[in-house]
Symmetry: C2
């Protein structure tokens, strides 16, 4: 067991090495942007799936709407990215939505942001893995490996386990593992978009007419005319492209110094790449007449169209890198979920075990929990991306809104402080205040725009997706917040009860010692001697009578070996050993309520584990039962056997 763990996870790392586990900008881009960038693999398709409802209803041009919708989403993306740059500079030690909302808006908004993020991290893993597996199965459409499609859920679980193990090994090694696929995806994808654009420009006539066999509509939509509601639904679906953009602001402490500058630069690069790739995909889908299909992804369809002849091998490269980045995109959550859980644990809103660093300096418990939840979710939804999408992004936009609103409050507060300071200084120096204040005013404005934009999208999302699955998240977030509060109350209560405050000097201890015995042997005699050394004149041995003859023999032997201790024999009509002993202890407690009662358990420990099977585990049961009795001290006096 232990050696299997070593093999998978590696040897333990010293605490002293903690500060050195940092990422360069290039590696950080790979680790933190895989989620955001990879969403280009499905965001366009999710828009088309909703527009298909109008196409089927007879509006042949409805798919054109993918371009304005995509531009709208990209605009939102830019607003959010600029907003987050403010956050990164204001919170260099990590400005996740939880911290920003808690600092500026109060505990409850902070917890709401935290709950929605936790839900979202789980969904990120599930959605990315499901989409990655879809990229793989799309490749095999029409081949004799088409049956792979039936085992999607199993593939998903395999990949989740793979990523979890990579993360349990530690963040530096994860970076090394993920840089290759991320950059391969970026280069391949950009080349595909460029090549595709060039091709349609050079040979505009070579694009085949749309193929409407197996046309797929988003689950929950029926054929209908184009309406604002339908367009907003398509827009909401496409907003999945924005998920993951906040990853960098959560992970600032993992960057090399200067952390904030490096993080902000990385965020700009990421947002630029994401906007380019996402709009590029939508434009390409439009130029090449791609319609969403049951058994093949949109990306797979146009890559297949573009790369023909001697470029055919490039199709496989696109599919492979898409699958790789999607599978690895889940990694963002494996960095963020445990980190957020550890923050919540530190603040006593989650079990404190989440704040422990494991052998490899990572928050192992959070990694394992995330892997479990996302595996269950993927299994429950049969590994199908489009069924998970309506649950997705509610949490993200809720946390975006809270975080941006928090930043607005942050800048207002900072502004007031600065005004107070400068007006002091100015009144001394006579300078105009305007120039100095411009920084916080600009930031306030940016975050204000961000907060309003994300709030509007959140409302749109809830309205258009509520019945398709968003209700689950709307229900889940308050439940999780309630759990946070319940856990918090417990910890506060424990701290209060254990506090040394108001503790008076303790009275001297009045000992009473009870030794349950199963016969007379060396182990028992050792225990009796030990008991006598604690409280020389207050020891009682207790024996449960199961057989009168045996009991009589014991009484006789007691004269010689009882060490002068008083022997009490209790009856057991139902042959139980534990029950009568507990009753006896209760009687003693009632008759001496102020004494400290110690139960000394003689216990012989076999030399080999299997030998335990040859002995009644009565001592174990008794120990378990005594644990729940108040005010009892339990002492084990082991007697180790040889051979």
């Amino acid at each position: 067991m232990a050696s299997l763990k070593r093999l998978l996870v590696g040897s333990p790392i010293r605490t002293a090495r903690l500060a050195h586990e940092r990422l360069t900008k290039k590696t950080a881009l790979a680790v933190f942007s895989s989620d955001a960038l990879s969403s280009t693999a499905y965001a366009t398709e999710e828009i088309l799936l909703v527009l298909a409802a109008a196409y089927v209803a007879g509006q042949g041009t409805s798919f054109n709407k993918v371009i304005p919708i995509s531009i709208g989403i990209a605009t939102l993306l830019v607003i959010v990215a600029i907003s987050y740059r403010q956050t990164i500079h204001a919170y260099p030690s990590g400005g996740g939505a939880y911290i920003v909302a808690k600092d500026n808006l109060g505990t409850m908004p902070g917890l709401i942001a935290a709950a929605s993020l936790l839900v979202d991290y789980v969904l990120t893993v599930s959605v990315s893995i499901a989409a990655g597996v879809a990229a793989i199965t799309s490749t095999f459409v029409g081949t004799r490996f088409a049956w792979l499609d039936e085992h999607r859920s199993a593939f998903c679980v395999f990949f989740i386990a793979f990523i979890a193990i990579a993360n349990l090994r530690g963040v530096r090694e994860s970076g090394a593992l993920f840089a290759g696929p991320t950059y391969a995806f970026i280069v391949t994808f950009l080349f595909m978009l460029g090549y595709g654009l060039l091709r349609v420009y050079l040979y505009p006539g070579s694009v085949p007419p749309p193929n409407d066999a197996d046309l797929k509509i988003a689950e929950g939509y029926h054929p209908q005319m184009l309406s604002l509601f339908l367009i907003l639904g398509a827009f909401s679906n496409g907003c999945a492209a924005l998920t993951g953009i906040e990853a960098i602001s959560n992970g600032i402490p993992a960057f090399k110094q200067p952390e904030s500058d490096n993080a902000a630069k990385t965020l700009t690069w990421m947002a630029g790449l994401l906007a380019t790739m996402f709009i590029g995909t939508s434009v390409m889908a439009h130029f090449y007449n791609i319609h969403p299909h049951e058994h093949e992804t949109v990306i797979s369809q146009f890559a297949r169209q573009i790369f023909t002849g001697y470029m055919g091998w490039f199709y496989y490269l696109v599919q492979a890198t898409t699958a790789a980045i999607l599978v690895l995109a889940a990694n963002t959550s494996f960095a963020d979920f445990p980190r957020l859980a550890s923050l919540l644990a530190r603040d006593r809103f989650l079990p404190r075990q989440f704040s422990n660093r494991g052998d490899r300096l990572v928050f192992s418990n959070g990694i394992v929990l995330l892997a479990l939840f996302s595996a269950v979710l993927v299994f429950a939804f049969g590994g199908e991306t489009s069924r998970l999408i309506p649950l997705y992004a509610v949490g993200v936009f809720l946390s975006f809104t809270l975080s941006q609103t928090g930043m607005v409050v942050h800048w207002r507060r900072e502004g007031k402080m600065e005004q107070a300071k400068t007006s002091d200084a100015d009144s001394q120096a006579g300078v105009k205040p305007r120039a100095r204040n411009s920084h916080w005013r600009k930031s306030l404005l940016i975050n204000c725009v961000g907060a309003i934009a994300t709030f509007v999208v959140l409302i749109v999302f809830i309205i258009t997706k509520f019945i398709h699955g968003a209700w689950v998240v709307v229900l889940l977030v308050p439940l999780i917040v309630m759990m946070f509060l319940k856990i918090h109350r417990h910890y506060v209560e424990v701290a209060r009860q254990l506090s040394t405050e108001g503790l008076n000097k303790l009275r001297p201890i009045d000992h009473l010692v009870i030794v349950p015995i199963s016969g007379i042997h060396r182990g028992v005699i050792a225990a009796l001697e030990y008991a006598k050394s604690i409280a020389p004149h207050h020891v009682t041995a207790v024996y449960v009578n199961l057989d009168d003859d045996v009991t009589q023999k014991l009484r006789e032997k007691w004269q010689e070996w009882g060490s002068g201790v008083n022997l009490i024999v209790v009856a057991s009509p139902y042959r139980s050993l534990v029950r009568p002993l507990l009753n006896y202890v209760d009687r003693v407690k009632r008759s001496s309520p102020n004494a400290v009662i110690t139960v000394v358990l003689p216990e012989f420990v076999p030399a080999k584990w299997w030998q335990n099977l040859l002995h009644n585990q009565n001592t174990l049961f008794l120990k378990g039962a005594l644990l729940f009795k108040r005010g009892l001290v339990v002492t084990n006096v082991p007697y180790h056997l040889e051979h």
Copy 2:
């Protein structure tokens, strides 16, 4: 959990009621003879399956041999039954093969007998249940429920669980449960034989010609001419009819007084019924030209032929009662296996848990173990009777032989004692010794014949069935005996090590107390006070440094709350709490090898179970690790939290 157990098993029964749980002769016949009688359901068929090898090879008359073979087996049955009557009178407290062989031949023969019986009890359950399920599926041959045949293994496991639960409820209730089906089977079966005989006498022309479609040959046999080897093989298969005949001699203490007389009478009845029904079945199979088939049992075939027209319903009655008795036949083993296991446990050859009576006064552990083993076996052999038969009966005949040989030695010894006594008395009174001695001489002769007969059959069985599966048992019995001996050695060794013999007065205890602490709170202070009360000037508190700042604060607080106890801070480069504490304890042990070291563990106990999830289980891990260190006393000082 506990209430489910109550529902299935019933409320506990007081030990005082033990003596009252006895069976009348009629109930005992039902409980102990179901195994033996039920074997008529498959014994004849197993003979025919071997003879089929010659029939297929062209010897049309080979099936005739079933009659002489059956008569041979019935003769053997009478010899064994008479032999066992001697045992019952000589061992009124239960004369199973284990006891008889151990008493008269020594421990090893006793253990061999015990091992073979244990194996056989498991096989009895598997074979009987498999045959019972075959009776049920035979009924549905050719109907739309024929698919039931595919789920045989599942049926078997269901029935095993049913019987196990009935037995866990207690022997009296089992008797009530099983009397009905057993007597219904006896009456139905005897009526069928009588009716069948009358019918063939009145209308000899009505018997249809044999149906050779789906003809089945015993597994492992190929078509061959009739030979002595083949006839002995058929004979061996048929000997399955004798299994279970020893059940009564094992169960004498369950009879009402006078136990031996009642048991002997019951045995005679049982043997008479068994011989009649077995020979009857074979004769009937011959008269009605029944050949063994793949999908229908022999009994089912001729019951179907005999009961036609307005008697058709009787066919279903035969199948139902056959199935019922077969399924319940397993019950014999559920009475005997736990009883033998408890005897072995009492003699320290099996874990002592097997000698504990459960809530309902039965040996629950044995019942559960038997159910598990037989369920696994039935599953492994796909619930097919004829594949299990070659494993069967080796064990029975081995134990028969050992038991009868033991009885021969027993009578010789008794004879010698009596001769010594009578020759003393005779020399005083001048009476001829002959008349008085006749009793043991007769018994010796009977058991001698029994021993030789069963030994010869055992050899025949091993020779004819070795390659077909008997080798498993031949291999298993020595392995089980080795396990018995290993367990025995352990218990003897434990008793020796724990014995008070040679124990000198102990030196006064030199205490050293170590208190591992995780901080300063009320629970820790209570533990420190407790530690000081044991050894006022020898207490050390140990703290594991995980964070220098936190440790520094602790040191400051220690001045006020440390109760004057010395505080040791140990380092932990890999963030483990348990490892550094264990190392510290080891250092103390090395420097004070003669002291008794007590580790006092402060432990706070949450008010609700789920709250344990919110706390590190370090105390638990530490307790577990300390258990394996020699010569350490571990004391838990719990601090109970509220809410």
